[in-house]
């Protein structure tokens, strides 16, 4: 009896070791995507749950996709930062976990250089290539190949609270940065709030300011020009003075996007310089906003003289990992979620900007979103992150050094010189990798 018991314990131990080793090792499931049917295949999709989809549109449509195709989808949605960590960590360790991933506009150079994403040209139809907004397709392309299909056309627009402006005696929103400062001086309150936080979102908004002064952080070859570009210096000089004068709130150094939007919808300040499309819908939703009916979209964006028109574009795409074992099923998911009919439905439901060009002239959409006409005018010159491999270091340097300049810890010149030095070092380090 004792011997038997000992034998059973030993067997259980051996079995558990075997099972553990099997669990620790990589799956050897070689089910190929070339099988006759994709039904029953399982793909893993990881995308951020962000301000663009507050009603769970993606999750609902993913369920419909599963029903229609028989392809199982494990949909992972978390914060952008969380997705960024998971995707980078997985791909850097050889990949294999995800089939469809978030492909942010700031990752393009790095992901393509590391061969982490697969070209989509073999799957894309002619309709897609000719019908999708050319700028969005081009942005996620390199060497003549397409790598991503946009799911979030995250282009920013200048919105304002017309009632607050009328109370301040203005009939139109400020067109120049000096007019923004004058508005604050007149009312004795913050003219705007934004996020200049030590994070990528902070860099986004600082980039807009620099672009709108006609400046650039890097030249066309990706070389840093921060200390010599006059537009950069003018932008930071204005920002440092505006911080002192209270043109924008001091909390801007710590707020994130959601907090800024919430504050705007509470009627705390009149200008939202780079609002994403969903802000307009939220500001007119009485359950979320105290300024229903007061928000308008300008025909222009704020700039140095009124001529340097630019808006920020930070689109996010879906891409297929180069290590995916179910590329065709993954493509089916991307195709389904970015079809023209789905794009229209998404626009109708959550106010997302379409990725198909023709939908900007769709009568039903224009009836629901008449302000898209103004969006169109502002979006004529949209600009995003520079396509550089060291973009994460770039973003980090801009966010950290800008805070020193804004708060007066260093002068504008000192801050920009330091930024230049750090960027050159980062560029050099990236080249050595």
């Amino acid at each position: 009896m004792k011997k038997k018991l000992t034998l059973i314990i030993a067997l259980v131990m051996v079995l558990s070791i075997v099972l553990m080793s099997a669990g620790c090792g990589k799956s050897n499931n070689n089910s190929t995507s070339s099988s006759s049917s994709l039904k029953g295949q399982k793909i893993t999709v990881i995308l951020p749950q962000n301000e663009a989809d507050t009603v769970g549109f993606r999750a609902a449509k993913t369920k419909e996709f599963e029903k229609e195709t028989g392809i199982q989808v494990e949909l992972i949605e978390k914060s952008w930062e969380g997705v960024s960590d998971d995707v980078t960590g997985d791909l850097a360790s050889g990949g294999g976990t995800y089939d469809v991933i978030e492909f942010d506009n700031s990752w393009i150079a790095k992901f393509i250089k590391n061969q982490w994403v697969a070209p989509l040209d073999q799957y894309m139809t002619a309709d897609m290539k000719s019908g999708m907004v050319p700028g969005l397709l081009d942005l996620f392309s390199s060497g003549g190949k397409h790598y991503g299909i946009v799911w979030n056309n995250d282009t920013r627009f200048y919105m304002y609270n017309s009632k607050m402006l009328a109370d301040a005696g203005l009939s139109a929103p400020p067109k120049t940065w000096d007019e923004v400062a004058a508005l604050s001086k007149k009312t004795g309150k913050n003219a705007y709030m934004d996020t200049y936080k030590q994070e990528q979102m902070g860099t986004n908004e600082l980039m807009f300011c620099v672009y709108s002064f006609g400046g650039n952080f890097v030249d066309d070859q990706g070389n840093p020009i921060v200390s010599t570009d006059p537009g950069v210096k003018e932008a930071y000089t204005w920002l440092a003075q505006a911080y002192k004068d209270g043109v924008f709130g001091k909390a801007t150094l710590t707020m994130d996007y959601e907090e800024v939007a919430q504050s705007f919808n509470n009627g705390d300040f009149p200008l939202m310089l780079q609002a994403w499309p969903g802000v307009y819908a939220d500001s007119n939703d009485s359950t979320k906003s105290k300024i229903v009916g007061d928000v308008n979209v300008a025909d222009y964006s704020v700039s140095k003289t009124g001529n340097e028109q630019v808006v920020l574009t930070l689109p996010e795409a879906m891409a297929i990992t180069s290590t995916s074992k179910h590329k065709e099923a993954a493509w089916k998911y991307i195709e389904y979620m970015s079809s023209k009919s789905m794009d229209k439905e998404r626009a109708l439901q959550i106010g997302a900007l379409p990725i198909w060009s023709s939908l900007y002239n769709d009568p039903e959409l224009l009836k629901k979103y008449p302000y898209w006409e103004q969006f169109g005018k502002q979006a004529q010159n949209s600009k995003g992150y520079p396509k550089i491999v060291w973009v994460d270091s770039f973003s980090d340097i801009v966010a950290k050094e800008s805070q020193k300049i804004l708060s007066g810890s260093v002068t504008v010149d000192q801050g920009l010189n330091e930024m230049q030095k750090l960027m050159l070092d980062a560029q050099k380090a990236a080249a050595q990798q």
Binding site: K3, M13, G95, N114, Q115, Q198, L253, T254, M255, E259
Partner: protein, 324 residues
């Protein structure tokens, strides 16, 4: 206990003879898998420059260059390192001082002691992420409770951007950490206090020692082993602080809260420079190891001698008093 003669044991079945090693093998394998392999792999990574091509990871031997770069070319490592040291020293000292003081109070008998003790544990029982989000909102410049309270009390006239200036942000993260971690000190200190025999205090009282003297001469030496454990674990945990910074400040403003754990995460997962990140992790681990070693050397030997001396001295006195 008698042991069986070797010959007799050899006749036993294999599994019976080796049951001990067999039983500990799975846990040894798990420990080896989750502890030693990553440690050695991280060392290997720290000695290489790492790049990626599709599913392949390319290692290029770099010797100690990643370590050297931390102190020569890395723009943020030194400041991050100093901020971390300051954070560790301040939080560990504050948590232990407040924790021991609170445990002395909670060790006294008073009405509702159990309830208060339970209440004290709450912050520690709360998940760190929840704690961080809570403090982030408390210190929110626009809607935060801190500003709301101070404004209502008339102590400030305009809202303070708590997380907007370097010193203030550092203080806020420090406060959030102390609030979360002090209950653990209280918990262990109360447990240690309850083991001190009452007769030691009686003897000290006969000797004419007051409360303060009794604390220094009896309480503190008697709870020293627990304090040593607290000192080691608190130091290691403080070095590992990540969630608070990630949620409350993202390392800002101006890098004032960019603690090493957070910075390592940034270098690894944002810059995808896994070689440098592994080197930083090793530096951090070595510091923790060295500090633990120093703590043990300094406190443990002295501690054992002190305890023996006190017990011997007080028992002698107590015996004398009873005889008298």
């Amino acid at each position: 206990m008698k042991t069986k003669p070797l010959k007799k044991r050899e006749k036993e079945p294999f599994f019976e003879r080796h049951l001990g090693p067999i039983l500990i093998t799975p846990s040894t394998l798990v420990i080896f898998g989750i502890l030693f392999i990553p440690i050695f792999y991280a060392l290997y990574m720290s000695l290489n420059r790492i790049s990626f091509r599709g599913a392949d990871t390319i290692y290029k031997f770099a010797g100690l260059q990643n370590f050297i770069n931390l102190f020569t070319t890395d723009p943020w490592f030194k400041s991050s390192f100093l901020v971390t040291l300051l954070f560790v020293m301040l939080t560990v000292a504050t948590e232990i001082v407040i924790g021991v003081a609170a445990s002395l109070v909670l060790n006294k008998k008073f009405h509702g002691r159990g309830f208060v003790r339970g209440l004290m544990i709450l912050p520690w029982a709360m998940p760190t992420v929840v704690n961080a989000v809570m403090w982030k909102w408390i210190f929110n410049a626009e809607y935060g409770a801190a500003n709301g309270l101070l404004l209502k009390l008339g102590l400030i006239k305009t809202s303070i951007a708590w997380l907007g200036t370097p010193r203030m942000a550092f203080f806020c993260v420090f406060l959030a950490n102390v609030w979360k971690e002090t209950p653990y000190v209280i918990l262990l200190a109360i447990a240690a206090l309850s083991t001190i025999p009452e007769d030691l205090y009686e003897a000290a009282s006969i000797d004419g020692a007051g409360g303060w003297k009794a604390f220094w001469r009896i309480t503190l030496p008697m709870i020293k082993p627990v304090l040593l454990i607290l000192l080691i674990t608190k130091t290691i945990w403080a070095f590992q602080t990540f969630d608070l910074v990630a949620i409350m400040t993202s390392g800002g403003p101006q890098n004032a809260t960019n603690l090493l754990s957070y910075y390592i995460h940034f270098v690894a997962f944002k810059q995808t420079d896994f070689g440098s990140a592994a080197a930083m992790s090793y530096v951090l681990s070595m510091i923790c190891f060295a500090l633990s070693f120093v703590y043990i050397k300094v406190f443990m030997n002295k501690d054992e001698n002190d305890e023996k001396k006190i017990k011997k001295h007080l028992k002698k006195k107590l015996a004398g008093a009873h005889e008298g």
